[in-house]
C-alpha cells in the first residue's frame, strides 16, 4: 500500500544537504505527463511553497490527481505512463530515476480518497512503516506511535484500544489513522487526494482542523473537488483544466478575484 511507504525519517544532515530557497518545497518545471498517448499534464510549472497548504482544484480529468501521482512517482509501477520535465525537492529532481524511490517515499507521504487501513491492529498500522525503515526499541516504537497518533488528532480516541482492529474505526478515524501512518515516518511533504470525500461533515471538519495544525510543520498539497474546502484549508490554490495549470495564486485572490476567465467560470459554477 502506497500510503504507508511514503515517508521515512530524514536526518538533519540530509535536510541541509541541498541548499534551496526555503520557501519553495516542490519546484515543478515544464512538467508533462502521459498515460500512453493521452497527454494528461501539459507543460506545468509551479513552485509549491513550504509550510503551507496548496489546494489543487479543477473538473474531473483535469490532471489534479495525476499531479500528485507524479510528485511521488507512483506512476512508475505502471507501464506506458511517463513524465517529462522536473520536480525538484530540495534542489534535486525526483523524477530522475537515479533518485531513490525509498528516499522519495520517506519525504513525501500520501493519503488517498478512501481510508486504506490494513486489516490489523491500530498499533500495527502505524508501526508498519516505522519498522520497515528503521529499528526501534519497544519503548521508542511506542513513543513514535503515540506521537504520530497525537499529531493526527486520533490518540485520545484510540489510546485504550491500540490492539483492536483498525477496521473497527469509523471512516473519519480510519482516515486520520492513515495520516498518522504517514506522519509516523516524519515526511516533509504530505499529499492528500480528496481525503474527505468519503467522510461525513463532522469527520471532515476534524480532518480540516488537522490539516490546519499540520500545516505548521509540513508542506501539504491537497486535491479536492470541494471548492469550499479548498477555500477553507489552503493558503494557495491552483486551478487545472484539461491538463493545464490555468491559474495559481493566493487562495484569497482565487476565490474573490480570479484573473483567468476559465477560473472565474469554474469557481462560480458556470462551467460548460
Amino acid at each position: 500500500m502506497n500510503d504507508t511507504m511514503m515517508a521515512m525519517r530524514i536526518t538533519p544532515a540530509e535536510m541541509s544537504s541541498a541548499p534551496v530557497s526555503t520557501s519553495v518545497a516542490i519546484d515543478i518545471r515544464d512538467l508533462d505527463f502521459y498515460y500512453g498517448k493521452s497527454h494528461a499534464l501539459k507543460d506545468v510549472s509551479m513552485a509549491i511553497p513550504a509550510g503551507s497548504v496548496t489546494a489543487i482544484i479543477g473538473p474531473s480529468g483535469c490532471g489534479k490527481s495525476t499531479l500528485l501521482r507524479t510528485i511521488n512517482r507512483i506512476y512508475e509501477i505502471y507501464p506506458d505512463q511517463y513524465a517529462a520535465g522536473s520536480i525538484a525537492i530540495e534542489g534535486r529532481n525526483v523524477l530522475d530515476r537515479r533518485y531513490p524511490l525509498s528516499e522519495l517515499r520517506r519525504r513525501v507521504g500520501m493519503v488517498f480518497q478512501k481510508p486504506t487501513p490494513f486489516p490489523s491492529s491500530i498499533r500495527a498500522n502505524v508501526a508498519f512503516a516505522l519498522s520497515y525503515y528503521e529499528r526501534f526499541s519497544k519503548s521508542e516504537l511506542s513513543d513514535r506511535i503515540e506521537d504520530a497518533l497525537r499529531q493526527a488528532a486520533l490518540w485520545d480516541e484510540v489510546k485504550d484500544k491500540l490492539n483492536q482492529s483498525a477496521l473497527g474505526l469509523s471512516g473519519g478515524q480510519q482516515q486520520r489513522l492513515c495520516i498518522a501512518r504517514t506522519l509516523a515516518v516524519r515526511p516533509e511533504i504530505i499529499l492528500l487526494d480528496e481525503p474527505t470525500s468519503a467522510l461525513d461533515p463532522i469527520s471532515t471538519a476534524k480532518l480540516e482542523e488537522l490539516i490546519h495544525e499540520l500545516r505548521k510543520r509540513f508542506t501539504i498539497v491537497i486535491v479536492t473537488h470541494n471548492m469550499q474546502q479548498a477555500a477553507r484549508v489552503s493558503q494557495r490554490t491552483a486551478f487545472f483544466h484539461l491538463g493545464e495549470l490555468v491559474e495559481f495564486g493566493k487562495t484569497s485572490d482565487i476565490f474573490t478575484n480570479p484573473r483567468e476567465q476559465r477560473t472565474k467560470d469554474y469557481i462560480t459554477g458556470r462551467f460548460g
Binding site: Q228, F255, T256, D265, I267, T268, R270, F271
Partner: protein
C-alpha cells in the same frame, strides 16, 4: 466585468437576478423620491411632500428584503468571486439607497416650514443640483446592473459639480441671510436641503466605488472627483 455565461445551476442566476432587480427597484424609488421632494419644495406642495414621507417606508421594506435575500443567497449558494462581490455590493448598496430615500424624506419634511415664505433666490439653484445628484444615482445603479466599472468612474467625476453647486448655494444663502435676517429660518432649511443633496452625490459616489469593486475586484483608489465634504 462581463458575466460571460450562465450558471450551470439556473436557480442561482434567478436568485442573483432577483437581488439585482430589488436594487433597481429601490434605486427607482429613491430617485423618484428626491425628484418629488424637490418638486414639492419648489411648488410648495405640502400634501405631495407628505406622500414622499409616507412612501419612504417602501424603501425600508425593500432594504430588509434585499438583506434577507442576500443572506439567504450566501448561505444556500455559497457565491464565489464576482458573484460574491455582487452580492456583497448589493447588500451595501441597498443600505446606501435607503439613506438616499431618507434624504428625500428629510427634504420633504421641510416643505411645510417653507409654506408662505416669499421668494428666496438660491431656491432656484436647488432643482438643478438635485437633477445632477439624482442623475448620478440613476447612472450608478445602471452601472451596477451592467457591471460597468468605467460608467461608475464617470459617475464619480460628476460629484465635483454637485459639490460646486453646494458651495455656491451655501454662499448665496449666507448672503441672503445677512441681507434678510427675517429669512434666516427658511434659508437655514434650504441650507439643509442643499446639504442633503450634496450627501446624495456623495452616496452615489460611494455606490460607484462598490460597483467598481464588484465589477473588477479592484478598489477604485484615488478616484477622481473625490468629495471633500
Amino acid at each position: 466585468m462581463q458575466q460571460s455565461r450562465e450558471h450551470t445551476l439556473k436557480a442561482f442566476d434567478e436568485d442573483l437576478d432577483r437581488l439585482r432587480a430589488l436594487i433597481s427597484q429601490m434605486g427607482g424609488l429613491a430617485e423618484h423620491a428626491i425628484g418629488e421632494a424637490m418638486r414639492c419644495l419648489v411648488q410648495r406642495d405640502v400634501e405631495g411632500a407628505q406622500r414622499v414621507v409616507t412612501d419612504d417606508k417602501k424603501l425600508d421594506v425593500l432594504e430588509v428584503e434585499t438583506e434577507r435575500r442576500a443572506v439567504q443567497l450566501i448561505a444556500l449558494r455559497a457565491p464565489m468571486a464576482s458573484d460574491l462581490r455582487d452580492v456583497v455590493a448589493a447588500l451595501k448598496i441597498s443600505g446606501v439607497v435607503e439613506r438616499i430615500g431618507d434624504y428625500a424624506k428629510n427634504i420633504a419634511k421641510r416643505v411645510p416650514q417653507l409654506d408662505n415664505v416669499g421668494k428666496i433666490e438660491p431656491l432656484s439653484l436647488l432643482p438643478e443640483m438635485a437633477r445632477i445628484a439624482t442623475g448620478m444615482v440613476h447612472d450608478v445603479l445602471d452601472a451596477f446592473l451592467e457591471r460597468d466599472a468605467q460608467a461608475a468612474v464617470r459617475v464619480c467625476e460628476r460629484d465635483d459639480a454637485v459639490d460646486d453647486f453646494y458651495d455656491s448655494i451655501f454662499r448665496a444663502l449666507l448672503t441672503h441671510m445677512m441681507e434678510n435676517p427675517q429669512s434666516i429660518g427658511p434659508s437655514a432649511h434650504l441650507l439643509f436641503v442643499a446639504k442633503n443633496l450634496e450627501r446624495v452625490g456623495d452616496h452615489a459616489t460611494n455606490i460607484a466605488e462598490m460597483v467598481y469593486y464588484a465589477a473588477t475586484g479592484e478598489h477604485m483608489t484615488d478616484r477622481p472627483g473625490k468629495s471633500g465634504s
